[in-house]
Symmetry: C2
DNA sequence: GGAGTCCATCAACTAAAGTTTCCAAGTAGA
DNA sequence: TCTACTTGGAAACTTTAGTTGATGGACTCC
């Protein structure tokens, strides 16, 4: 519905910098209601029109070119809102370890049938637009990776 | 096994402010490796020890009390990393419209069987720890809400 | 009760995110 | 070619997130 009219929206690179992610949004998730120019001024203006927060074209430029890699929450929110992605899109860890196929579809169904996952969550998941779902899926995978990383979740107090 | 030793980790309130979300993290997602005090100094110190980014106790206090509601990306990343939640945890929209039960579990299985959702994503979802899953589920619901909100996606009202 | 300690809170300061404004290079139209 | 317009880029400035250090209350120990 929105964004895929410029062609198939490719998947987000798993290990991409913030600048690359924002550039990807502009290239692949540009809302269909806004015409093509897609430059910094246009982006900033569209965000200002579409969301509550307004950001300047220079800020867009800095973010696109990587001259700014630590935006504020409202800036991220404005970008995410305009492009229709959750802000979790920006939060992937740079690591991209492959996900093994440990659970089969059958096992998944068993899990679901056991009520281990809330039904309305799955409903929401399948109800997402293709673009948003792609982003959300990456987010889930990232969360799973972080969940299994024993960095700050080890139950041994001997840390420092 | 991180966080639930202080009691059952309640769900995140769907429409919670940033301050409430951070407070919830401190109360319910405190890593088991770090002892109980859980004050601002402790929180700031633990984040400094556990992640690359260090934030001050005053910053923690400001965020907890809502005196600061626009943190920078690195600050959010440090918090999310320490508490083991994805960045998207902070990005829920403040609206909380009820999710209807339009799709039954049977319909869900059909959707899943049709390969509409990538299998490894579901695998990752069921493989999450209970705490992380709770957070991720809220995130999915929020993404679904944002996806259906015609705010910046005003191409056509008819979506499905 | 008084001293010492811990902690939330606050004020002053620093650093940097974001804005405004302008400039130079590129481009279309005459 | 010249002019007008567009766009990426950059300098100067404003705003504010985050830090540092101080203060006062609560709480403990003697």
């Amino acid at each position: 519905m929105a964004g895929d009219e410029q062609g198939p929206a490719k998947e987000v690179p798993p290990s991409a910098s913030l600048a690359e992610r924002i550039e990807w949004l502009i290239q692949n998730m540009w809302p269909s209601g806004v015409p093509a120019p897609r430059n910094n001024v246009e982006t900033a203006g569209a965000i200002a029109a579409g969301s509550d927060e307004a950001i300047s074209s220079t800020t867009v430029w800095k973010l696109r070119t990587g001259r700014q890699d630590n935006p504020q929450f409202k800036t991220l929110t404005a970008l995410a809102s305009f492009f229709g992605v959750p802000i979790g899109y920006f939060g992937f860890s740079s690591e991209s370890e492959p996900i093994g196929e440990e659970l089969t579809l059958k096992a998944l169904r068993r899990e679901i049938g056991a009520g281990d996952i809330r039904t309305e969550v799955l409903r929401a998941l399948v109800d997402l637009s293709p673009q948003t779902r792609s982003v959300v899926e990456e987010m889930i995978l990232a969360a799973a990776r972080a969940d299994r990383t024993p960095s700050n979740r080890d139950d041994e107090p001997g840390t420092d």
